[in-house]
Symmetry: C2
Subunit: 138 residues, 2 copies
């Protein structure tokens, strides 16, 4: 049983046969997205080179969309998978006043922040990611 | 002033004009490497696509070398840069009994572990990374 084999893991913003982008439900980090590989694969270097590139292209399309939509002070990217060894990337917008800044979001809470999410965040991200992954008249 | 503009940040295992691989001095995480972009650039999506690919190719060459040399239970990859907004990737070998497992290494300490580093670790990693980045008779 694997959580990411069995569940979408968030609101799906985009997907193809290889992977999906989801918006994570996290009140401390609006705009926190994950890119989840469809197959149960553990490490990046378990993928053939072309698939690694595809996955990173999607991660960077999400990074661009999050920057465009939210203008964070920093983007954090991470593929950990210690608890769920099913390949997935965290794309996390960070702000100077957020819950953990300047520590990683997995560190001790620094302050109670709860920033407001911009309106129609999912729709906005969905549009930008779709345009990046299917350019021109696709 | 930027720490990664001014200092190598560890023992250099490999480098080209664009980036360098260093072995981090961390007694809790032998084999912890970083891949540091040479120029002071903040985010992956500030790089042109070809340079992003090059940087990720190096990150994955390091991941392969660390897996081959240390056989960790998991690899953690992360580009955070909240404190030092100069593009760098953490490549961290993780073990079930390590200091923070299954949490991120930036979380609270779970136990005192201090695993022994394999002998000639730097030399071993250097050889494998060099072979991956300069295949054949280069």
């Amino acid at each position: 049983m694997c959580e990411l084999c069995d569940n979408p893991g968030g609101e799906v913003l985009w997907q193809d046969a290889l992977c999906r982008v989801v918006l994570v439900e996290d009140r401390d980090y609006p705009g926190f997205c994950r890119v989840i590989w469809t197959k149960h694969v553990k490490e990046m270097t378990d993928l053939p080179v072309a698939q690694r590139r595809h996955l990173m292209d999607v991660v960077f399309a999400v990074e661009s969309a999050v920057r465009q939509k939210l203008q964070p002070d920093k983007i954090n990217l991470a593929s950990l998978g210690n608890m769920t060894p099913h390949l997935h990337w965290h794309v996390i917008p960070r702000w100077r006043g957020d819950r953990n800044f300047p520590d990683a979001i997995w560190g001790e809470m620094q302050r109670d922040a709860r920033p407001a999410a911009p309106e129609k965040l999912a729709e906005g991200l969905r549009t930008i990611i779709h345009e990046a992954m299917h350019p021109a008249s696709d």
